[in-house]
């Protein structure tokens, strides 16, 4: 090995020197999903010039939000070794309920709140009752709820679709912040991200954790790159409301997992449920909370979808559970529990929508799209298993 100098605080002298190169390669290895996302975007951009346009990127971001919001909740569920298959049907049910409520003259915001409570919290409580109290495997319970919720949606709507007339409701899923406001917001957010990376470094140094400067530069560069792409994308019409909602939810989710009592307990439960119980974690309460969070997020996703489409059909959200689970798994959350991040899931969700969007642009027939998507999910899990084996 050419350079075995100790790790801290060396001025980076040229990025292509061995140390920098190695940090870069390590970054590639540790951030496989991010690299895959960038590579995919790059390939599609070369292939079809319509891909890397502000208009298409804006669309792509909007398409990601619905499944992305569900996937944030799904991350928590999968970390604790659970699963929720009912999310797709809840999207359909929530869309029907909120539109029907408005049709019957209920105020928009009241309709949204009632929908969140009825199709989100209430169904979550029901699922959790069986899972946490009667110890029925979540796969079975939520499989049942998947059919039940779809059935209720079909019954309520009589199998037909429900239109929305109120223009304000359409704004939730279809509106934009102006380009000016979006630019300021994006700049502020990315400035904060860079600042927090710097602060983390300072803290880590304070605790004696060694940090490679080159690694830091790499993360900094990636952050700047992401910021640039986001600014470019939203130069089309600005930041879409649903994307902003997704960003806020993802941020809260990520912060909760990394920096709160609740998050620590989730990881502990996923790592070893019995040890967690004997450490004083109330497993039941945790499960109730988590299964309510995911159903509520799914209900929110359903409301947003109804808003974007200006109407609802009972079949909305069909197979969304699979996309959400795929996003979580591609994002590196382990099916054996205890491991996973929201940022990984967000990247996973974007990979799925880049694939969907790119393949549609290239006019890949839908049938092939399904095959390719399935293959990629298998690849991602194989990669996960492989990297775990290596770690021993």
């Amino acid at each position: 090995m050419a350079n075995t100098a100790p790790t801290t605080e060396q001025p980076a002298t040229g990025f292509l020197q061995s140390e920098g190169m190695r940090a870069f390669l390590k970054f590639l290895k540790d951030n496989g999903t991010l690299v895959a996302l960038i590579a995919l975007m790059f390939i599609f951009s070369l292939w079809d010039e319509a891909f890397f346009t502000p208009r298409n990127l804006t669309n792509l971001a909007r398409q990601t939000t619905i499944v992305g919001i569900i996937a944030v909740g799904m991350t928590l569920v999968i970390i604790i070794n659970g699963i929720d298959l009912s999310v797709g049907s809840i999207v359909g049910l929530a869309a029907i309920v909120v539109t029907l409520l408005m049709q019957s003259g209920v105020n928009i915001w009241a309709a949204i709140l009632i929908t969140l409570l009825l199709t989100g919290v209430l169904i979550g409580l029901w699922n959790a009752l069986w899972i946490a109290h009667y110890n029925i495997p979540p796969f079975i319970i939520t499989l049942g709820m998947m059919t039940i919720a779809r059935g209720i949606a079909l019954t309520l709507s009589d199998g037909g679709s429900v239109p929305v007339t109120d223009p304000v409701f359409g704004e939730i899923g279809g509106g934009f912040f102006s380009v000016m406001v979006s630019t300021i917001m994006v700049l502020l957010i990315f400035a904060y991200l860079l600042f927090s990376q710097y602060r983390d470094l300072k803290q880590k140094q304070q605790y004696g954790v060694t940090v490679k400067q080159q690694e830091l530069i790499t993360t900094g560069v990636v952050t700047l790159l992401a910021g640039a792409i986001v600014l470019y994308a939203f130069s089309y019409r600005g930041l879409p409301y649903p994307v902003a909602i997704f960003a806020v939810i993802a941020f809260i989710g990520s912060f909760t997992l990394q920096h709160t009592k609740f998050g620590r307990r989730i990881y502990a439960m996923g790592g070893n449920e019995e040890a967690a119980r004997l450490s004083g974690i109330s497993i039941k309460r945790m499960k109730i909370a988590i299964y309510c969070i995911i159903t509520t997020l799914s209900a929110l996703a359903g409301i947003m979808l109804a808003s974007r489409l200006n109407g609802a059909s009972p079949n909305l959200g069909n197979m969304f559970e699979l996309d959400a689970i795929s996003a979580v798994i591609i994002g590196g959350t382990s099916f054996s529990g205890g491991v996973g991040t929201i940022i990984g899931t967000v990247i996973g969700a974007f990979i799925i929508s880049v694939l969907n969007n790119g393949m549609s642009l290239l006019e890949v027939p839908t049938f092939y799209q399904l095959i390719i998507k399935g293959g990629i999910i298998i690849l991602a899990v194989w990669f996960d298993v492989l990297s775990k084996k290596k770690r021993g």
Partner: protein, 510 residues
């Protein structure tokens, strides 16, 4: 004296942060029983895992010779094929299958269509049992209906059916009744006559004097002295080889003033969920005081673990009875409630239900007391958390490269210290420890004893379960002895002798 069958030379095995085996040398001969002695954590189990291919070549250093031939096992199958069989403490039988199916698991005689030839299977098993003079059970009995002792015989029959000629017993009698032990010894004697080479891991001196031919001692991963015929060594010599130091230094004992009653357990029962009508704990009554260490002794399966789990709000079956904490009647429906009242439990099975493997030291350390480092919104104050964790690392001298490394990478002793830190941070009133020094090196043990003494001085009530008599006698102020779910004796430090405790624990004295 038979020929040398098994020889292990200069065996060294490292784990992250600890050298488990450090130059082990011995040889075992055919037709003899070689006793392998040593305290818990001396490296006996690791040695057996090297021999059986669980730790494959080249994860260790040194050579294994079988009948003079250098052997390198890359997996357990190869070791098995070479004729090595290990009968572990924890039996590896499938409860719902018959004796015959267990013995010939994966090797059942089949006909041309791959269907099992049941007649032949049972006949062959019966022949094997006859050979061993086993008449207590039939090939068609289900394993789950047999006692642990009989299950052990099934394991032996299984090993012999594989034509094993090197048999290793890992503490085989720890869960057996006297009668079952006698039956086992009868079979061992028979195997000796047949020329089988056997090794026997145990702490029980009396047993070894009955059955062993030669003895070798393992301490801190090293073989101490040569292989010695059992007739040529005294008990004291054996103990000094095993402990390597004066027992007094091994168990530092603080002098405390016993304070007020903290915990009182009255008429505490735990039903056995698997066997209706039976009880895991019967009518337990005892008190624990401030400023004392209360020891609980008893054989494996005597209900010790169940009793303390029950107090901690995690009983293995429905529990009845009364628990008073500071003279107030309490009822813990979950460990969560027990912890809120200041009770901590260091569990027996560290890997399975103690640690959260795959997660960091700081995550493991803080998981029971996150309230101490969070604000009202439940947000963790990282600086505060790290400082607190760092304090524990220093105070308990936990050897670790950092707070963020996975707990898996630490040695057993350091893992246990992290768990102790976890419980110290709940500021316990009563700290219960179930076999806290199992699988821990001697140095860390002494540190843990010192820590317990200090806790008692600070006013914590400590209850400790231990299978090791010197340990429980060395550090307790009072000792409860359990037998078959009942507390059969309460002995003061002065009254307690090994013989007396064993007599109560085995039920021979009531």
């Amino acid at each position: 004296m038979g020929e040398v069958v098994l020889e292990m030379k200069n065996i060294i095995k490292d784990f992250p942060g600890v050298r488990a085996l450090n130059d082990v040398n011995f040889e075992a001969r055919s037709g003899e029983l070689l006793a392998l002695m040593g305290e818990n954590g001396a490296g006996k189990s690791t040695l057996m895992k090297v021999l059986s291919g669980v730790w494959p070549y080249p994860s260790y250093q040194g050579d294994i010779y079988l009948r003079g031939e250098l052997k390198r096992f890359y997996n357990t199958k190869e070791a098995e094929a070479a004729g090595i069989a290990i009968i572990y403490q924890e039996l590896n039988l499938i409860p719902d299958l018959t004796v015959a199916e267990n013995i010939f698991l994966d090797r059942q005689m089949t006909n041309a269509f791959g269907a099992i030839n049941w007649g032949k299977l049972f006949a062959e098993t019966q022949r094997l049992l006859d050979e061993l003079n086993i008449t207590d059970f039939k090939p068609t009995d289900k394993v789950k209906d047999l006692t642990v002792g009989k299950q052990q015989l099934v394991e032996i029959a299984k090993a012999l059916s594989k034509k094993a000629d090197v048999l290793v017993f890992d503490e085989p009698t720890s869960a057996l009744t006297d009668k079952e032990v006698a039956a086992l010894f009868e079979i061992i004697r028979k195997l000796k006559r047949q020329g089988v080479c056997m090794s026997y891991i145990s702490h029980k001196m009396e047993e070894l004097q009955q059955i062993a031919d030669r003895v070798v001692v393992l301490r801190d991963g090293k073989t101490i002295g040569d292989v010695t015929p059992i007739a040529e060594i005294t008990l004291d010599q054996l103990i000094s080889r095993m402990v390597g130091r004066d027992v007094k230094d091994m168990f530092p004992k603080g002098q405390f003033q016993r304070g007020e009653k903290v915990l009182e357990v009255k008429n505490f029962d735990i039903d056995n969920p698997d066997l209706p009508g039976q009880k895991k704990v019967k009518n337990a009554c005892f008190c624990a005081y401030k400023g004392e260490i209360l020891g609980i002794s008893g054989l494996m399966g005597s209900g010790r673990t169940e009793l303390v789990s029950g107090i901690f709000g995690a009983p293995p079956g429905p529990a009845h009875g009364e628990i008073y904490l500071d003279d107030k009647l309490v009822r813990f429906r979950s460990p969560h409630a027990a912890i809120e009242h200041g009770i901590g439990l260091v569990t027996e099975d560290r890997k399975r239900i103690g640690l959260i493997l795959g997660q960091s030291i700081i995550q493991n350390m803080m998981i029971s007391s996150l309230e101490t480092v969070t604000n009202v919104l439940g947000i963790i104050n990282q600086a505060k958390e790290r400082n607190l964790a760092q304090d524990y690392v220093k105070r308990l001298s936990i050897k670790t490269p950092g707070l963020d490394v996975k707990i898996d990478t630490l040695s057993g002793g350091n893992q246990q210290k992290v768990i102790l830190a976890k419980w110290l941070n709940i500021k316990p009133k009563v700290l219960i420890l179930d076999e806290p020094t199992r699988g821990i090196d001697v140095g860390a043990k002494v540190e843990i004893y010192n820590l317990l003494n200090k806790l008692v001085e600070e006013g914590v009530t400590v209850i400790i379960i231990s299978s090791e008599l010197p340990e429980v006698m060395g550090i307790s102020d009072r000792i409860l002895v359990m037998c078959e779910g009942e507390i059969v004796a309460e002995l003061t430090r002065e009254q307690a002798t090994k013989e007396l405790i064993m007599a109560y624990a085995t039920g021979s004295q009531k």
